[in-house]
């Protein structure tokens, strides 16, 4: 369970990333976080594994106060939390399986890391993770030979390989085309159901968010303006989150006439 208690984040330059966020997320939820760019979506997600420090309030993950963690404890804590990035963040020159295996590195003795020696069990586990995202056949290909969608699935497999209880995904489908984006989202949904992993996704594609997530958080200027089940997201809610600007669906045709943008 993740619990935000009146959490705020102010960046050193004065920008307010989060303002008085109160949130409770149960194990196994599939949460989509929507909002404009710069609204604080990334900040919200990255505070959970403390890639970003909060400046106020309290953040509990499975009962641990995240801000109290230091050094080794923090790293041990992060082992349970997987993270997916917009730019995949894979080592392009390495093979797929080597990338998946890097998630075992933090638990390995230094000499094994140094020479890149992985045990048979680790390799099997990594291959199983690749199988779960249907990309087993590419295991020994180099990452730069893969398409964007395939690379994101490798990143997902890398995360699964660490057996996380939470997966944080920061714009995982933003650099993918709509069809591949849908496939990757369905992978997330399947993993969420089959393995009971909590998933938090930052997403710009509202239609994909509504299609797969069980709960939606709307965030605006660092404040949560909507928190509720997907079924209750209406056009008014979207107007509120996106400050009244019309939200084009990713699959809609956008016609530009002069300066007016119509979306059906």
């Amino acid at each position: 369970m993740i619990e935000f208690k009146d959490v705020s984040k102010t960046y050193p330059n004065g920008t307010k990333g989060l303002q008085h966020v109160n949130l409770k997320i149960e194990q196994g939820e599939f949460l989509a976080i929507i909002g404009l760019s710069g609204a604080g979506k990334s900040t919200l997600i990255r505070t959970i594994n403390r890639m970003i420090d909060i400046t106020d309030g309290q953040l509990l993950v499975d009962g641990t106060d995240v801000m109290s963690l230091k050094g080794k404890e923090l790293r041990k804590f992060r082992r349970k939390i997987g993270m997916i990035f917009q730019s995949f963040n894979l080592v392009n020159r390495s093979t797929v399986i080597k990338n998946v295996l890097t998630s075992d590195v933090p638990d390995m003795p230094w000499y094994k890391t140094m020479f890149g020696i992985y045990s048979q069990e680790q390799k099997i586990h990594a291959l199983e993770a690749l199988d779960k995202v249907n990309i087993l056949e590419k295991a020994y290909s180099r990452c730069d030979e893969l398409s964007g969608g395939q690379q994101q699935r490798v990143a997902l497999a890398r995360t699964l390989n660490q057996n996380p209880s939470i997966i944080l995904a920061d714009e995982p489908v933003a650099s993918l085309d709509p069809i591949i984006a849908d496939v990757v989202m369905s992978d997330f949904a399947r993993i969420n159901k089959d393995l009971n992993i909590s998933i938090l996704i930052n997403i710009h594609h509202v239609d994909l968010a509504l299609k797969y997530a069980t709960r939606v958080i709307g965030i605006r200027n660092g404040e949560i303006v909507y928190d509720g089940p997907t079924s209750e997201v209406t056009q008014e809610v979207l107007n509120l989150v996106y400050m009244g600007k019309a939200v084009p669906k990713s699959t809609d045709r956008i016609e530009i006439e002069g300066m007016v943008i119509n979306n059906g």
């Binding site: 199983e128 199988d131 020994y140």
Partner: protein, 275 residues
Amino acid sequence: MTTTVKENILEKLNSEPKNLWKRLLVTAIVVMLVIWGSTSLNYNGVTEKGATIAGSIIRGIVQPELATLFDFGPNGVPKLVLETMAIAVLGTIIGAILAIPISFLSATNIVPKPIAMVFRAFIMLIRTIPSLVWALVWVRVTGPGPFCGVVTQSVCSIGMISKMYVTAIENLDTGVLESLDALGCNTFEKIRCGVIPQLMASFISTAIYRFDINLKDATTLGIVGAGGIGFPLQEALGSGKWHRVGSFLLVLILVVLVFEWISNHIRNRLARGRS
């Protein structure tokens, strides 16, 4: 999670390309080479005075001999530094000018391949003979002194500068020449307006880069009597004036670093324009 491993995963696991042996072999070769290399490098230990020498030199760098640094006489540091720099300046300029015809004659897009090959062999020949050996040869012609350093560096610079010039010439954008042709320019006009502007910046940049190298090189040519700070430094080392050695080294480090900084600055400007 199931305890039995699925068939397809095992199959994939066994299909892993095995390059472990290759790596072990390469590592073994390198290790063997190093062991073989170390066999005759018998470490005789630090000489009795060795530690004192090292200590004194470092002390000399930290606390230089001011008398040496500000001695404006013929054996003082300012004169020697000026001489070293002068060798590098002239050597680079002469070398850079001599390299122009040679590099055009070894560019395959200017002259037929056989001619280019002959000149490339010439460049390679110049490059292979170490500058110190060149100095040993030239010293027989010019006699000892800084003039020998200038001649040596002029010749040695041709090698590397030509090699870089050739690359620049072979990367010439011929589209410009075509458009000048279309305007009705003659060969001279084409060279003046199409070739020189394209090559100028990279030629100057190469020459400045070479100046850095020559400056460093000029500090050692003195060892064979080709002028510069090298000979007094060697002499100070030979006669055990460690403090003096330290002072020389300090100046040498400063001069090289300052010119490296300046040349990086100018080359960045040449590459990116003034911004």
